[in-house]
Amino acid sequence: MTETTYREALRAALEDAMATDPTILLIGEEVGLYGGAYGVTKGLLDRFGPERVIDAPISEPAIVGAAVGAAMTGSRPVAELMYVDFAGLVMDQLGNQAAKSRYMFGGQIAVPMVLRTQGGTGRSAAAQHSQSLEGWFLHTPGLRLAMPATVNDAYHLLRAALVQPDPVVFIEHKGLYTMKGPLDRDRPDADWGRALVRRPGRDLTIVTYSRMLHESLAAAEALAGQGIEAEVVDLRCLNPLDEAVPVASVRRTGRAMVVSEGVMTGGVAAELSARLQELCFDQLEEPILRIAGEDIPIPVSPDLERAAIPSAGLIAEAGLHLMRREVAEWAR
């Protein structure tokens, strides 16, 4: 067990996996010489050479397409999409090719690839470099989807992604790279596909993932100061999606909020809300609240950017109102 950063944990996962599995190759813009736009792949070119750490031209569709073909022919490619915002360039290769090949071809042809990418706000990078587009992937059968929130998960979920038999979209959060935390290479927090209660509580359940876990934990802390014990569930993977853990929690607490950085309408928060409502209906005391990104593009100006996504403050505020239902004065 060591203390390290999310970035280092990701790099360690790639490094350990590549050392074990010679079929793994990295392909993406700036993954080699530059070491990755966010430094995750630094040093890997030196260690594994240019045949396995491949600097690609700025050709996202062909990068993902090449990964698909490599995966079909005995390699295990990790394609890097520098920003998840570029997903719009590769949704065909991801959604029509990677995701559907096994199915269309009757189970003959597997596409065991990982698409590593990063998303989210926090750098005043504006509308085309700050999105949270996991909703598109979640809505695409055939794709697995993992979004680690902790250092240990950064390592273990990536290792797990690298042994999946199907394509995995692996989304890091740009706001977490420098976060420190414990890494135990021998012990994952939980298995691939399992959700985890990160903080127990009896009054209210907060279901979340990725960086919003930390806002949610901070909110729970604040609520505790007001005598409200919020249970915080980290989904870790969105596909496979572990219903059991959040459902058990909500059935117990009777109140739930789902928290996602992605824009609210049509996003992951809607899916989580719908699922919890379906399976916890009889136990619900209050409506399930979605705390999600505003339905707007991300503005560049720092205060606006911050206000465009959920914060610990907003989550706590909503939690308080959900418990107390004293909201008349809340509207603005």
């Binding site: 392909i27 031209p57 050709s59 073909g69 490599a70 065909d92 269309m104 059968p141 697995r144 999946q164």
Partner: protein
């Protein structure tokens, strides 16, 4: 052709056998595609989006430059290519009919046939969709030192899809064992090539991206083969290439299209550039086979395809629960059928 070289006679004989084999394959493709049309008329195909490769049989000159272990992807008009790479016509027709014994268990259909064993990495219904896959296959082969080549087959329409040029650049940049093969049948649906493309010298485009480029007359399968041999030799040595096979699409785009956008004269003219008839005429003219033998061969091909069609039509449809299989690997969590989920909700 006479030659003083003592090795020349066996070489010529081999070439002649190969030419006859290529003719047989072209005839099989033609017969197969006719059965696809028949299957549709009999209401036994899954849908009408069936794209016949009649007129494009000259591509056999390219597939014959491939060897066992080479892989490929095709576009939506890929039946001929796959047959030429060894497909079982009965399983193909079964797939086209959505039958369980089809290559893809009735899930893919005409536009999504594939076969791992034969190196078919998949037919694609997205124009250009399968092209970059060969770049990845090329990476695997290069890294694993297997000597294999991967080939992307696509139509002239895909020459306007950006991903093609991205893939070409990558293949050339990384010196991958990859061949891009454009079957230029002059049309993308109802749009003649000169209405879609500002320049029609496609080999020159490939050249501008660092590939070896060739263009061959698809009505002459032997010419195609000669050009393909060069391109494949280069590709196998890490000099990726491009080859255009010219052709004319004899029929409509798919089964519902009567091609009202082209004239009867143009069609008649186009159909005169018939690779199958040409090859046959040449075999006869060069005395490599007589009319009787060729008639027999044609009849065999027809009979084979009749049998295949019978087998396909009689095959059963896949069971409903199979639709939840193959989304993910069997050992991993599978999709929950909606009915089961609804029951779970209402029973909760």
């Amino acid at each position: 052709m006479t030659s003083p070289d003592p090795g020349a006679a066996p070489v010529a004989a081999a070439r002649n056998t190969a030419a006859l084999d290529r003719y047989r394959m072209m005839r099989r493709i033609r017969s197969f595609e006719e059965r696809v049309g028949e299957m549709f008329l009999r209401g036994e195909s899954a849908g009408s989006m069936l794209h016949l490769s009649i007129g494009e049989e000259g591509v056999v000159g390219v597939t014959d430059a491939m060897v066992e272990g080479d892989s490929f992807t095709t576009h939506h008009r890929g039946h001929g290519v796959f047959l030429a790479r060894g497909a079982d016509p009965a399983r193909m027709l079964a797939e086209i009919g959505g039958r369980e014994i089809g290559y893809c268990r009735g899930k893919g259909g005409s536009m999504h046939i594939a076969d791992r064993e034969l190196g078919h990495l998949g037919a694609n219904a997205i124009v250009g969709g399968g092209i970059p896959h060969v770049v990845g296959a090329g990476l695997s082969y290069r890294n694993h030192g297997t000597g294999q080549v991967s080939v992307a087959f696509f139509g002239d329409g895909a020459m306007q899809q950006g991903v093609l040029y991205e893939a070409m650049n990558m293949a050339a940049l990384w010196r991958l064992p990859v061949v891009f093969c454009c079957i230029n049948n002059q049309y993308g649906m109802g749009t003649r090539i000169d209405r879609a493309s500002a320049s029609v010298d496609f080999a020159a485009r490939a050249g501008a991206f660092g590939l070896a480029g060739a263009s061959a007359d698809g009505a002459d399968v032997e010419a195609v083969h000669a050009a393909a041999q060069d391109i494949f030799a280069g590709a196998r040595a890490g000099r990726p290439g491009f080859i255009e096979v010219s052709a004319y699409r004899f029929h409509g785009h798919a089964r519902m299209d009567k091609s009202p956008y082209r004239t009867a004269e143009e069609e008649a003219e186009g159909r005169r550039r018939d690779p199958v008839a040409n090859a046959r005429a040449r075999l006869e003219a060069e005395g490599l086979a007589d009319a009787d033998a060729l008639d027999r061969l044609d009849a065999e091909a027809a009979a084979e395809m009749d049998r295949a069609l019978d087998a396909a039509v009689q095959a059963t449809m896949p069971p409903l629960p199979s639709m939840f299989e193959d989304v993910y690997a069997p050992e991993t969590p599978t999709p929950e059928p909606l009915r089961r989920r609804l029951a779970r909700i209402l029973n909760a």
